[in-house]
Symmetry: C2
Subunit: 553 residues, 2 copies
């Protein structure tokens, strides 16, 4: 199968139209039936596959950077009578388990991104359901702040996955229905077993939508509501757009290379060796100067490159089970860029860059690959770049230097900065440092006190900021064993282990979606009752009913 | 296969010894190798199966009721050099998926019960690891408040599931390591990949155990620590023991009958019709009088019967996918018993009964069966009994009466009582009423204000306390459709749906164990990498290495 490419731009969209008019943008879903990413299915009724969602993700990102003036976003459909039928069933039925799971993860991240734009960027999303929204279609609406449904006696919202397909809604539907919209759990249960869903006043009374609007008043109502959201928005004053120019990426079978990020794909060892480079230039003196650099501004560029790399590796390189992170360059420069951003939090561009970096690191947290950080002389694990080590399942920092290779080098250090103490929260609402020291307030304080200090391996280990601090003699062997051992374990068990250990402490809607809901969905996807030859997912649309093993597990 | 019976008592234990000496009891695990519940495996090295854990559950329960004087419980091993090797691997490898999952659920509940005894009953558990505790053995220790490990250069604690078996620790280990013992996540990761585990000072430094004690000081240290725990205990003054006499149960293929609880097993419809009866006698005037009734005291008797019924149906009747709950009797009597308990919260016996009822209802919440409450004239869904309806996935209350059958009956009512407003929390820390109205404070207040009022169907529906209020004409048809429809859906998808919708709102260690960890474990159990012919679980002990599909999902 050909590699999936996540890079696109509005001029290449086949399924979405993005139109910005003053403070309100409209994202119109108008899926090209014959535009499936893989052969074998038609994208009827605005159903979607990964290709459709890649465009949506691109649009949501561009709205934040390229449309500073947009304060409300209307998501609607270009089809008559149907908003969106959700993920394409034939695509799901014919996909391998891993593909389904990865697809759901990405679509979840895009929907979380919509909520992030609403919450942190003053771009409030309004779902304008001009026809029926079923399954993933309704889940897309649930990610929006408000839901309007046309009231025409036929349009409805529904989650028909359970009755029709024998699976769960896979993009947060169950969680958002009860935890975000506060639909009563017994009603939620009933709703999710009723394939045709609910519309009109009952959908409003049950809180499934905010308003049911007769077709004659539809255009007016959508306009009114979106303008009201725009005028209530707290979007920071933006100025000129930041164009997200095409990424400078080269991709071969063995390597993925961007300007600041590179990955060597070592198939023999099942490892991707990832290197992130510090900025070469000094930080600009102000956000105005940063803005002049546009998409080349280092923190933005590095976030975009990492984002694309994560998506590429996740989707196209499923057998590379371990990602080893290294950094290179001057930690002082990283900290200077961090400081500029943090001193400019009320600057629109700084705010967008910070939240993008946050979202990219969250993508790493939910990646089903073992993450190892390797901290060597010449690296720049400081501030924002230290988050890569804090996100890792374990980290190694060289004690001293490589005596043979470069005895005169400065020893490797790590540096905590303000970037580690607040803005880059994980999806559990805590920073990676807080999660690391969960239940150990004294340990957290002791580490935080050493902010801005370059810490060599022993100090870093004593403070609990790294896992191991081998010296020159043991270094190669320890890293080799760690990666070889990882490659020898059950990939599934590693995925489960990491999904549990990475999220100590509190839970949020986002962690519930990625942890609880996703795990159940993965289990169900994998069961014969869904995916077996007589399972509901495979039998859907054949006219034959599914045959279930009736034993409850 | 013969039915599993959860009823036992110390005189019949084959695997545990329970000895109470003053304020300290000792639970000694000494598993009879040839005492497996099912043929085909030997319970070597204090490994356990469901039968072993049934005895542990019984002991933990009896300690609360039959040993009011016990304020600390030492859990230790009767074997040399080994505390407990965890769940028996050959048993797991040869079990069906459903059996494994149900086994893990029960063992989880027992370990939660240990924590409940420590937290709410002043019986603090101390794990005295006089030898290696691996896998489920260490997880049992993790459920205790303190862990002592003998320091002899060979004894260790370990979670070898991932490296040896390609699965996860199944009884809360991952969650408790980081969320309860606050082991740092990278250390937890390392620890869980190291099959031989850690012992001695390092195990203490990493917080995996509280103390490593040389063998020469072992007996003394265990005695000192347990006496210290006992003297710090807040156990209420107890008086004479309450003997948990043998349950009066009859069991046939079609029916399970106790004194207050009965279930008709309707295999044709895949439904268990469960009826719970109100007390026939007036509530005793005082807890002293209640105590004279002993195990016959209605709230205790009904909790024990429900508890046994839930376990029996879960394990032995996996194809009965829907449980329909009815109640019968005088709601006033139920409320009077509730009031007696709630007015006596500082009474040892009342406290024990309340927490037992709480635990039993929590067992219902995590049961993978659809729960439907049917509220008819003559029922007693009031206070504690109303919890059955609040635990249900949906409820039906008859509006009016059955005109043909009994036109002169009083219409069905439900009554909220103080029992619904606090003591009977779910595992998410909220009451079922709070969970129901999660995010709807006004709805909660409106309902709570009607406390002690007998609410007919329309009122109950308006207040959001029931799901549907059909009248006589629609009644049979609606109930029939609800149960038939439920039986037509994918059992797996229903399990996932219910596991998500029943736990709106916050998460706790307990919900993380049942929601997140269990779901991942179920997925992994079901994957070829674990349970396929070449999977790690099946290959364990054969001398052959597992063959993994290396694709990360």
């Amino acid at each position: 199968m050909t590699r999936v490419d996540f890079r696109t731009d509005p001029s290449r969209y086949r399924h979405w139209r993005l139109k910005a008019e003053g403070p309100v943008a409209t994202l119109t879903m108008d899926v090209d039936e014959s535009g499936g990413l893989v052969p074998g299915y038609e994208l009827k009724l605005n159903s979607y596959d990964l290709g459709v969602d890649i465009e949506l993700y691109d649009a949501v990102q561009r709205l934040r950077f390229e449309h500073p003036e947009v304060r409300a976003v209307v998501v609607t459909s270009g089809k008559e009578k149907v908003f969106c039928a959700g993920a394409n069933i034939r695509m799901l039925a014919s996909s391998e388990h891993g593909w389904k799971v990865n697809f759901c993860k990405f679509t979840n991240e895009t929907r979380n991104g919509i909520e992030d734009a609403t919450e942190n960027s003053g771009q409030t999303y309004l779902a304008a359901l001009n026809g029926t929204a079923s399954g993933g279609g309704y889940e897309l609406a649930l990610a929006c702040d408000q839901i309007l449904l046309v009231d025409d006696r036929s349009s409805a919202v529904s989650l028909p996955e359970l009755p029709l397909l024998g699976v769960l809604p896979g993009t947060g539907g169950l969680t958002r229905v009860v935890d975000k919209r506060h639909v009563r759990r017994d009603r939620a249960d009933y709703f999710s077993t009723k394939a045709e869903g609910l519309g009109g006043k009952k959908a409003v009374a049950w809180k499934l939508v905010d308003e049911a609007v007769p077709r004659v008043r539809w255009t007016e109502a959508v306009s009114e509501r979106s303008l009201a959201l725009a005028s209530a928005s707290t979007r920071l004053p933006g100025g000129a757009a930041i164009e997200l120019t095409a990424l400078d990426k080269s991709r071969t079978d063995d390597a993925i290379t961007y300007q600041h990020v590179a990955a060597a794909l070592d198939r023999a060892r099942s490892v991707a060796e990832i290197t992130v480079r510090a900025p070469e230039q000094e930080a600009p003196p102000s956000m105005a100067a940063a803005r002049a650099a546009g998409a080349a501004f280092w923190p933005l560029a590095v976030a975009r490159e990492l984002d694309d790399l994560i998506l590429d590796l996740r989707t196209n390189e499923t057998e590379l089970g371990t990602w080893v992170f290294r950094t290179q360059g001057d930690p002082a420069k990283v900290l200077a860029y961090d400081e500029l951003l943090l001193n400019s939090k009320d600057n629109w561009f700084a705010n967008e860059v910070l939240h993008y970096l946050k979202r990219t690191l969250r993508r790493l947290d939910v990646t089903s690959r073992s993450l190892i950080a390797v901290i060597e002389p010449g690296s720049c694990f400081a501030g924002s770049m230290l988050e890569l080590a804090l996100a890792a399942d374990r980290s190694f920092q060289l004690a001293g230097v490589f005596e043979d290779k470069n005895p005169d080098a400065e020893p490797a250090t790590i540096t905590l900065g303000d970037m580690n103490l607040g803005p880059l929260t994980m999806s559990n609402g805590l920073t990676r440092l807080q999660t690391r020291f969960w239940g150990d307030e004294a340990g957290y304080e002791a580490a935080a006190k050493r902010k801005n200090e370059a810490l060599e391996a022993e100090d870093a280990a004593d403070l609990g900021l790294i896992t191991f601090a081998p010296d020159d003699i043991d270094w190669d062997e320890e890293i080799r064993i760690a990666t070889e051992e990882r490659a020898s374990f059950s990939p599934d068990a590693l995925t489960g282990l990491e999904a549990n250990y990475r999220f100590a402490g509190p839970e949020t809607m986002e962690t519930k979606i990625f942890g609880r809901l996703t795990a159940w969905q993965n289990w169900i996807f994998n069961r014969p009752n869904a995916s077996g030859p007589d399972g509901a997912l495979r039998r859907f649309g054949t006219g034959q009913r599914a045959v279930f093993d009736r034993k409850r597990v």
